[in-house]
């Protein structure tokens, strides 16, 4: 059981976390941040294991992980 927090203002919407998440609980975002990027959305339904692969690939260090 884990959860993540995405810093929307730091995110550049590259969606690498969406593709790297082994549980597919990070979804492509639909709303824009102040710079015009689309940060992804975390689906907090208890499936996330807190493996932190999303945080390891994130090029903008915008993800924090709890487990």
């Amino acid at each position: 059981m884990g959860k993540i927090a995405i810093n929307n203002e730091r995110c550049k919407g590259c969606d690498l976390c969406v593709h790297f998440c082994p549980k597919q609980v990070i979804l492509h975002g639909s709303s824009f941040n102040s710079k015009g990027h689309r940060p992804p959305k975390f689906q907090d339904d208890g499936v996330c294991t807190g493996c932190a692969i999303c945080a390891r690939i994130c090029p903008d260090v915008a993800i924090e992980v709890w487990r």
Binding site: C14, P22, A52, R56, P59, D60, E64, W66
Partner: protein
């Protein structure tokens, strides 16, 4: 629940200037994590390249120096010899290390300087507009070889790790590709090992990281990682070339 992953202390809390999906930021963070884990932040002196990573000194919370194009190993040599207790690393791209800085990196390696080099190979000059680099693959298009690189016209790509492996100075040479979950772990381990080798004080260490450049490849970030895996890895085999 407790926090298991956050921004490393050696990394400044600022927005980076890289394009979306560029792995420069990922590798910066791995270096910062290794510095934190080894507890050497007060001894670290980093040397920045010229290229996309030119602003690296803004993103790291350790001492950094900006070197002239390709001359980072020469600057690092000076720092390490004046301050032998410091931990010195250079961070260089392929245009910086494999083109204009070829002489510096080969002689720094041949002298066995006790420094660590993180070499980012993305097969292109990202910052200046996607010109052909010495590491551009055969057949790969760039703004200065728009029909694709031809061996009889532009020559062959340089494999830096194999080139330096012929010397006796390097004690650790590895090539890694952080393009999947396993690759991320291996990259971090290789960078950590390179820093540990420097702390042993026996010679030169270099980690070549195969990176993407989604902007110059003109593909999405995830497709650029697939491109690295499918096209770069066959020509630039992964692994440790020297470990002594």
């Amino acid at each position: 629940m407790q926090k298991v992953y956050e921004r490393p202390e050696s990394m400044a809390d600022v927005q980076m200037s890289y394009c979306p999906g560029c792995l420069h930021g990922t590798v910066h963070r791995m270096i910062a994590e290794v510095i934190d884990e080894l507890g050497v932040r007060e001894q670290v002196v980093g040397v920045c390249p010229v290229g996309c990573a030119v602003f690296m000194y803004e993103y790291m919370s350790c001492d950094m120096i900006e070197a002239a194009h390709g001359r980072a190993p020469a600057v690092a040599t000076g720092v390490k010899r004046v301050l032998p207790d410091s931990v010195v690393f250079t961070y260089q791209g392929d245009g910086d290390l494999a083109a204009i800085g070829t002489a510096e990196i080969i002689h720094a390696a041949a002298r066995g300087e006790r420094i660590t080099t993180i070499f980012i190979n993305n097969t292109t000059y990202g910052m200046t507009g996607g010109q052909m680099a010495p590491t551009t693959l055969l057949g790969q298009k760039s703004t200065t070889c728009p029909t694709g690189r031809e061996a009889m016209r532009e020559g062959f790509p340089i494999r830096v790790c194999e080139l330096l492996a012929t010397l006796d100075g390097p004690i650790y040479l590895a090539r890694v590709a952080p393009v999947n979950a396993a690759g991320l772990v291996k990259t971090k381990n290789a960078i950590k090992k390179a820093f540990q080798k420097q702390l042993e004080g026996r010679g030169f260490s270099l980690v070549e990281v195969l990176c993407n450049c989604p902007t110059q490849l003109k593909v999405s970030p995830i497709d650029s990682l697939k491109w690295v895996e499918e096209n770069m890895v066959p020509y630039y085999p992964l692994g440790e070339f020297v470990d002594r």
